[in-house]
């Protein structure tokens, strides 16, 4: 597996959050979701930059949706995880599980 296929912790969290949001993965919702899971609200900048990076890597895709008046006429972007995004998540999960194996006792 190429090195770049491994995901950082923050990238995994964002990808998983998008998957969990299914068809309504918008930035505002994602931020709220991550905030609930992590116990702290991630900064907007960090979230946007991570989304940019994941999009550049081809793990997610942004879909432009119609602008609405409460958004000042600006469009909304919905994110979906691509196949390679799923593959990267799987690979990361596999690696983590492999590493977790046999060390649970030490950590308990």
């Amino acid at each position: 597996m190429p090195r770049s296929a491994f995901l950082g912790e923050w990238e995994q969290l964002v990808l998983l959050a998008i998957l969990r949001q299914r068809d309504s993965a918008y930035v505002i919702g994602l931020r709220a979701h991550l905030s609930a899971v992590m116990g702290r609200t991630p900064s907007r900048g960090a979230l946007y930059r991570t989304l940019d990076r994941l999009e550049e890597k081809g793990y997610i895709r942004g879909i432009e949706e119609d602008a609405s008046s409460d958004r000042g006429g600006h469009p909304r972007r919905r994110f979906v995880v691509t196949r390679s995004g799923i593959a990267a998540l799987k690979a990361s999960r596999q690696a983590l599980l492999h590493l977790w194996k046999g060390v649970e006792e030490v950590l308990e």
Binding site: Y26, V27, I28, S43, R44, G45, Y48, R49, D52, G62, E64, A67, D70, R71, G72, G73, H74, P75, R76, R77
Partner: protein, 873 residues
């Protein structure tokens, strides 16, 4: 959220971008804050969020922009390089042309900066002063000072931290790696305290060095390299100065010599005359002012102290006062006022040359831009912005300017030492002038400026792209031709101005070379000998050496006469008063004093008019110690038409009167520029005036070409005394030429060089423009041929076009000739130089000839245009 908040949002969009990413971000913020309750706090939070997000994206966007620009730059570079590969002549022509201009400018800028503008390397140079006696008639002048006066001032002056003095001497210095005649200074032990520098190695002098009588010496970095090959163990080693052993105690860095090229320093020893004769003015004082003291305060104090000395010793000091000048001003006065004028003139010459080069390059660039007009218009039509087009042109400009800058710096690195070696004696601080960072900076700056000029001109026309594509090529190229015509006219004018200046100065030099010096200048060799004092301490030994040297040289094949004198001919400069012994009222205050050997008159070619000259042989010398030979002018001015032979004269230097034994012809002892003065000749090394002069100029008059005379003379000298070096070997003609003013010669030579290059560039410029114009009018020429014009007629028309261009340029130059006359005024002697209008006529002839030659090829090409080809086009 009801109200619009465009400012922060706009800022966010400006930073992040107007694409879907940026706009959705702005939308998210609106949505988020719109859902909350309205209020000032919410507004503030919204603004902060916008700012924070913009701040987060700013570095990202900057990086992206830089990356984009870099990749565009690389693309431009590749494209430009490809363009130049397909037109290598254009690229090489432009680069070389520019390199010449940049090289000349960088060279002259280095010299001007190093000799006039560079700050002195001493700490607090503004506190360093040079002072000395000045006559009441000319209180702003600066003469040497008397030792006793200096000591008096040193004791009482309160405005100075240190007062020191030096006396310049030359001596033969020999070290392990060779011997040389070097410039030295005999200094007071505190001399180096004035300049506050630290030695490169070893130490400065201490009072004990003077009082103990130890023979110690400090050498310059240059002498250290020359005498010790730069070896570290030089301190404590022994060198010989005039054949006497001295211990090296210190090495002074290059900076120490910024006030004058001195290679070694010894402590001064006051002799009996120094300590008794207050009138003897023989030392040069320097000093460092107390912090906060102005030059005026110091001058005021010293003048007051000197006035007291004047009251105490009226006989010696009554006609004198003292002057204090900043050391910078004193250094700047080396080479005289003409030196500064010369540097300004050749500096202006170099700038003109650069301008001509730049004009040529831009003219070539315009021609090329014309060829690629469609390409440029297409780019504009496809959406290339003005900025992008300028970037492309600038890249092209840089591809010419940068290599030209590098080549210019290389030319300067080669030319600066050459100019300094050749003409160093004509400007101040020449020994510290060196190619360095400032030279590179000038070359780089000129290269970059050139690149911008090229870029600006290449994209000169800003018409809408579609218009340009639609219109016929001729409209646009007519505009371009007009610009080029203007440029080339300027070029012709500048070249002509430069030529005018060069010809004026060269004309003066030519006129000076035609002045009758009163003696024949051909077939005579001159050189200087310096006798080491330790071996030739008295007049007797000096006389014997010169007599033996004359006898041996006389025996050489082809040598007709040999003579020696204390000073070089045509250099003037050593004078005193002379009065008739039995009629003291008949006095001449300014008479040149010269000590000569008997062979001097025939060797230099001075005719005897009355009586006799000094008799040959040492035996006669003693008897002639109180006899003199005088020049015709002196005889005439003192005695009128009556005979001078046998009359007695009183001179400034000896108490008993001297007897005139002969009258000889006059010669221009001050060179061609000034009339000679009445002269009195003493017998060399017998008369007390010049009894001990260790330096002599020997004149050898010969037959034939004298090709190997230098070698033979050197062999004779080596055989006689191998420790006596032979210096300043040159023909009498060269000596006379040099006396015409070296700065004048330097200016003329460098200006002629610049002019040559400028004219060559100018002719290329004319050629380029006319060729371009012919190319553009091929169709017109074809039609003319078709309706019956002859090829000769076409050729004539083209020639006239070129000449018109030249005529306008020359007319502009003629207007500028007034300024040129002022610029070269200090080098030109009005009564000797050909009139300005004649020089101008010469300039017109030369430039017109060059212009016609440059037009010939395009004219012939136009005349030979095959009718059928043109019509087919």
């Amino acid at each position: 959220m009801s109200r619009r908040r465009p400012v922060f949002e706009r800022l966010l969009l400006w930073v992040v971008g107007q694409d879907v990413r940026g706009r959705s971000m702005a939308g998210d913020l609106r949505e988020e804050y719109g859902q909350r309750s309205a209020g000032a706090l919410n507004e503030l939070r919204y603004a902060l969020s916008c700012l924070r997000l913009a701040g987060r994206y700013l570095p990202v966007r900057m990086l992206e922009a830089a990356r984009r620009a870099a990749s565009a730059g690389v693309l431009d570079l590749r494209q430009s390089a490809r363009g130049f590969r397909s037109a290598p002549t254009y690229w090489i022509g432009c680069t070389l042309t520019l390199a010449l201009g940049i090289g000349a400018t960088s060279t002259i800028a280095t010299i001007v900066y190093g000799s006039l503008l560079e700050p002195l390397p001493y700490p607090h140079p503004e506190r360093l002063v040079r002072f000395g006696d000045a006559t009441l008639k000319n209180p702003v002048g600066l003469s040497s000072a008397s030792v006793l006066n200096f000591m008096g001032l040193q004791r009482s002056a309160g405005t100075f931290d240190v007062m020191a003095a030096f006396r310049s001497e030359r001596a033969i210095v020999s070290g392990p790696d060779g011997a040389d005649r070097l410039q030295g200074a005999w200094v007071t032990p505190n001399f180096f305290e004035v300049f506050e520098l630290t030695p490169l190695a070893g130490r400065w002098f201490e009072p004990a060095d003077q009082s103990s009588g130890a023979r110690t010496v400090i050498i310059s970095e240059r002498a250290w390299r020359r005498l010790f090959g730069g070896r570290r163990d030089a301190i404590g080693r022994t060198i010989q100065i005039d054949l006497v052993d001295h211990t090296v105690i210190g090495i002074a860095g290059r900076d120490q010599s910024a006030h004058g090229a001195v290679d070694f320093w010894k402590t001064i020893r006051w002799n009996a005359d120094d300590m008794t004769l207050r009138r003897r003015r023989s030392i040069e004082p320097v000093g460092r002012l107390r912090a906060g003291t102005t030059i005026e305060e110091a001058r005021h104090e010293l003048r007051a102290l000197f006035a007291a000395l004047g009251r105490e010793y009226p006989a010696e000091n009554a006609a004198w006062t003292i002057n204090v000048m900043p050391i910078e001003e004193w250094i700047g006065s080396f080479g005289g006022a003409s030196s500064r004028a010369m540097l300004q003139l050749i500096g202006a010459g170099a700038v003109v040359l650069l301008a001509v080069a730049l004009i040529n390059v831009t003219s070539l660039t315009l021609g090329r831009a014309e060829q690629r007009r469609r390409d440029a218009l297409l780019r504009r039509a496809l959406g290339a912005t003005s900025g992008r087009m300028f970037a492309l042109h600038l890249t092209e400009g840089l591809l010419i300017g940068v290599p030209a800058g590098i080549a210019g710096a290389v030319i300067a690195s080669w030319a600066v030492p050459l100019v300094v070696a050749q003409y160093g004696d004509t400007f101040p601080r020449s020994h510290t002038v060196a190619f360095g960072a400032s030279s590179v900076l000038v070359a780089a700056g000129a290269g970059i400026v050139a690149a911008f000029c090229i870029a600006a001109l290449a994209g000169l026309r800003r018409r809408p792209a579609t218009d340009g594509l639609r219109t016929d090529a001729r409209g646009a190229s007519a505009a371009s031709l007009r610009v080029r015509l203007a440029l080339v006219t300027t070029e012709v004018a500048l070249s002509a101005l430069l030529l005018h200046a060069a010809m004026l100065v060269a004309g003066t030099i030519y006129a000076l070379s035609r002045v009758d010096m009163g003696v024949p200048l051909d077939r005579a060799l001159t050189f200087e000998v310096g006798l080491p004092r330790s071996r030739y301490p008295d007049p007797d030994r000096i006389a014997r050496f010169l007599d033996e040297l004359s006898t041996r040289l006389h025996a050489l094949p082809g040598v007709r006469e040999v003579g020696a004198t204390t000073r070089r001919p045509f250099a003037g400069g050593s004078n005193g008063g002379v009065s008739v012994a039995d009629d003291p009222a008949r006095t001449l205050p300014l008479v040149e004093y010269r000590a000569v050997t008997p062979g001097f008159f025939p060797a230099l070619g001075i005719a005897l008019h009355e009586g006799r000259t000094f008799a040959a042989g040492l035996g006669a010398g003693a008897a002639e110690s109180s006899q003199v030979v005088i020049s015709e002018q002196l005889a005439r001015e003192l005695f009128g038409p009556s005979s001078a032979v046998g009359r007695l004269l009183r001179t400034a230097t000896s108490a008993p009167p001297v007897e005139v034994i002969g009258v000889v012809g006059d010669f221009r002892d001050f060179g061609p520029v000034r009339e000679g003065r009445p002269t009195i000749y003493f017998r060399h090394s017998f008369n007390e005036v010049y009894a001990n002069s260790p330096f002599s100029t020997v004149i050898v008059r010969h037959e034939g070409s004298g090709a190997d005379l230098t070698l033979l003379t050197r062999a004779v000298l080596r055989d006689l005394d191998r420790d006596v070096p032979m210096d300043a070997i040159m023909t009498l003609q060269t000596l006379a030429d040099r006396s015409a003013g070296t700065s004048r010669r330097t200016a003329a030579t460098l200006l002629l060089w610049f002019t040559g290059v400028a004219l060559a560039l100018g002719s290329v410029g004319i050629f380029g423009v006319i060729a371009f114009s012919v190319e553009r009018r091929r169709r017109e020429i074809g039609i003319r041929l078709a309706v019956g014009d002859t090829p000769a007629g076409i050729g004539r028309r083209i020639l006239v076009e070129g000449l018109k261009l030249t005529a306008i340029g020359l007319a502009v130059a003629a207007l500028g000739s007034y300024w040129i006359r002022n610029a070269v005024a200090s080098f030109v002697l009005a009564d000797l130089t050909p009139a300005s209008w004649r020089v101008l006529a010469g300039v017109v002839a030369v430039v017109a000839l060059i212009a016609v030659t440059a037009c010939l090829i395009p004219a012939r090409r136009a005349a030979r245009t095959p009718l059928i080809t043109v019509l087919r086009e």
